[in-house]
């Protein structure tokens, strides 16, 4: 293993490591535009130049392999001068667009200019303009060729990661410009990622366009609830400036690096599926058309459940749990309806909700926690929601407690109408209004994933943590909190101060979770024991 010195610090790295990677291990971040850890090296931007002793010229750190005894300087006067010059070239024809550029605030050109540029402009000529300003190149992305620094990150992404080859650099020399191939559109399901990797504001997101300035955003780590892959994401939200984007809180989702799950990427299906967090929410408990308080709602539930509990007719309770719930929520369902009210019918498996999938990230199962629900609820094999629905239709159930499922969409209007007639108490607990709400006797508002603390288990059986970004909207509550209130009213209290304690309880009662804790799961997740 070669040993080298970078800025006076010694390090030993495997051979075939590049200087930029070796420096990163030492915590030295060398500026880069074209280098991206998940893409092949291109070495065209030259901002990463470093001085290597005994080499006459500066070397690019992203492509130069380390060698034994190498002495690298990343901050010598020569290097700083080179960076300044590279920046000067990059900015020769760069438009003064920062005020209208969505990238401003997270733009590498701005950052490096402030760090290494800071020169007085020597340009007397007017800047060369491209024919058109920002234009649409697909359903989700806008391109502004003037702002492009031709780092080709986006080209390499579509060539090597999605293999859809939409982008290319056309013409030569001073006339080179980035574009999509004629007649092509950037319309693959991973196109949002090119916005993330573009170091400048050449590729911007239509969904985020002009919505909010990036420096207003708060960031909370989370996991995408869009499918069972469980891509690690950051929820970027803004509460301090409510006038931005019509008082909605979440502005965008960005992928979060996790080499074992999604690496640097996420799919567009998940990326743009966040509008439900602020729109169309159920805000207060409702009984029929009346808004009621939580106390009244829980009382109503308890009054129906208690006689069943006392008389032992527990098989008249039907629970349609959901794989959208966190493990903590599911664990309370298990404790309340499997342990305390043993005999209730529980299932969560929807017969036909398989969506599109591909061989990269997107999975057909659009629930983030199917594995968790399976492990915690352990439903009977070869069964699904249909058995409980059938029973409810025939009047075999007194209580049907639905967690978020849109039964109208799944089973049709007639079925739900019948259920509503034949079941004594039809409870819908969910975050968003859907058609099923219209038939439910009791509607309970629950929090969405961005308002919850908890864990999901993805299809690789990795337990991953989500964090609450903000408090639940309106009067909605976390699902386990609602169940905990209910348990107290029916005389079998299950109470926890927070979801961490629930998880500790899961870890001590289920062998697969042995010795896990929130701390150990961290932000990169942890595999289940097998």
């Amino acid at each position: 293993m070669p040993k080298l010195t970078i800025d006076g610090k010694e390090i030993e790295v495997p051979s075939k490591t590049t200087i930029i990677q070796a420096a990163e291990k030492l915590g030295i971040v060398i500026p880069r535009y074209c280098y991206h850890p998940a893409l092949p090296v291109s070495g065209n931007c030259r901002i990463c130049m470093v001085e290597v002793e005994k080499q006459p010229k500066l070397q690019i750190a992203c492509y130069t392999m380390v060698a034994n005894g190498m002495i690298v300087k990343t901050n010598s006067p020569k290097v700083l001068e080179a960076r300044k010059t590279v920046l000067e070239f990059l900015l020769v024809n760069h438009p003064l667009d920062c005020p209208v550029c969505d990238q401003a605030g997270e733009c590498k050109l701005q950052d490096y200019y402030m760090e290494h540029g800071q020169y007085d402009s020597r340009l007397d000529d007017t800047k060369v303009k491209k024919e058109k300003k920002a234009f649409s190149i697909g359903p989700t992305v806008m391109l502004d060729q003037e702002r492009c620094i031709l780092c080709t990150r986006c080209v390499r992404f579509t060539d090597n990661i999605t293999r859809t080859n939409e982008f290319g650099v056309f013409n030569r020399g001073d006339h080179s410009q980035l574009d999509v191939y004629p007649g092509k559109q950037l319309d693959n399901n991973y196109s949002g990622n090119v916005v993330d990797i573009c170091p400048v504001g050449a590729l911007t997101d239509k969904d985020f366009r002009f919505k909010c300035r990036v420096w207003y955003l708060d960031k909370t780590k989370s996991v995408c609830p869009g499918c069972s892959m469980g891509c690690n994401i950051t929820v970027e939200w803004d509460k301090s400036r409510p006038h931005q984007d019509k008082k909605t809180r979440v502005m965008r989702l960005k992928p979060r690096v996790n080499p074992d799950v999604n690496d640097h990427w996420m799919c567009d299906t998940g990326r743009y599926d966040y509008h439900f967090i602020d729109k169309n929410r159920i805000l207060t408990p409702q009984q029929g058309d009346n808004l009621i308080s939580w106390d009244q709602a829980i009382d109503t539930m308890a009054q129906t459940i208690k006689p069943l509990k006392d008389s032992g007719h527990l098989n008249k309770i039907g629970i349609l749990a959901s794989a959208q719930l966190t493990n903590e929520d599911l664990f309370l369902i298990r404790k309340l309806f499997k342990d305390t009210l043993n005999g209730s019918q529980i299932d969560f498996r929807v017969p036909q909700s398989l969506g599109a999938s591909d061989d990269f990230l997107l999975k057909a199962d659009r629930n983030p926690n199917t594995a968790g629900a399976d492990l915690i609820l352990q439903p009977a094999e070869d069964a699904d929601l249909r058995d409980i629905i059938q029973k409810a239709r025939n009047g075999g159930l007194d209580i049907l407690y639905v967690f978020g499922h849109d039964l109208v969409k799944l089973f049709g209007k007639n079925t739900v109408e019948e259920i509503s007639k034949n079941v004594k108490l039809f409870i819908f607990q969910g975050s968003n209004v859907n058609e099923t709400c219209g038939y439910a006797h009791l509607i309970l508002p629950s929090a969405v994933y961005a308002e919850k603390d908890g864990t999901f288990i993805n299809s690789q059986h990795r337990v991953q943590r989500i964090w609450p970004a903000f408090t639940p909207l309106g009067e909605s509550k976390g699902d386990w909190e609602i169940l905990s209130l209910l348990s107290a009213k029916i005389g079998a209290p299950i109470s926890y101060p927070n979801s961490e304690e629930i998880f500790d309880d899961i870890a001590s009662s289920l062998a697969l979770f042995a010795e896990m804790s929130y701390e150990k799961i961290g932000d990169q997740g942890m595999m289940l024991w097998y």
Binding site: C98, A104, K133, F135, F210, K211, R213, Y216, R241, H243
Partner: protein, 200 residues
């Protein structure tokens, strides 16, 4: 002989020691009391207050009759160059303002009448009173790209610091209307929108 000031100083020191750190707030009060105790005794004639009352009435009447006469003469168009009173006859006669005085804001327009503002939100970000609220939208001209769909400035909150003007990269917001009288009957009408900022 004993120096009275020295004595006073010692008294004060003792006082400070006893009363702790916040006593300095009372120093001005004590100074006034000290002066009152040492003021000159009035003579008998002075203590009748007659001379003071008379001289006061004289001064007031002098200005009253002078101004009255001058105002009457002004209305018939005479002696216009001699001011009738020392005060500005606001609001008919506004006070001349310094050139760089920060007065009520306005939004500048482009030649086509659209706002020059590009909704970069620099002013919104820098505003210490948080009284600017901008929502952005597409500008019909792709070379401009962005413009404010709405630009709300709450003058009830504004502290007239002028940061918004200083930070604007487009010289789109200025505080040079010379208007100081933003008095309204309700707080809501102190909130200016884009239209009002561009027109008034």
């Amino acid at each position: 002989m004993e120096n009275p000031n020295e004595k006073r100083r010692q008294e004060l020191e003792k006082y400070f020691d006893k009363k702790g750190p916040f006593v300095f707030l009372r120093v001005a009060q004590m100074k006034r009391a000290w002066q009152q105790k040492n003021r000159r005794e009035l003579t008998w004639w002075e203590s009748t207050y007659i001379p003071t009352v008379v001289s006061g009435i004289w001064l007031t009447s002098k200005h009253f009759f002078r101004n009255l006469t001058l105002h009457i003469l002004h209305t018939v168009g005479l002696f216009k160059d001699i001011p009738a009173s020392a005060t500005y006859q606001y609001p008919e006669q506004p006070r001349p303002l310094a050139k760089r005085l920060r007065t009520r804001h306005r939004l500048m327009k482009r030649e086509d009448g659209t706002p020059r503002c590009v909704a970069c939100m620099m002013c919104e970000t820098v505003c210490p009173a948080r009284c600017i609220e901008i929502t952005a939208t597409e500008h019909p001209d792709p070379n401009v790209e962005k413009q404010p769909a709405e630009f709300i400035l709450d003058l009830g909150k504004c502290v007239y610091c002028g940061f918004c003007v200083e930070v604007c990269p487009e010289d789109a917001i200025r505080m040079d209307t010379g208007k100081l009288d933003t008095s309204e009957y309700s707080r809501e009408s102190m909130i200016y929108d884009k239209k009002r900022l561009m027109e008034e």
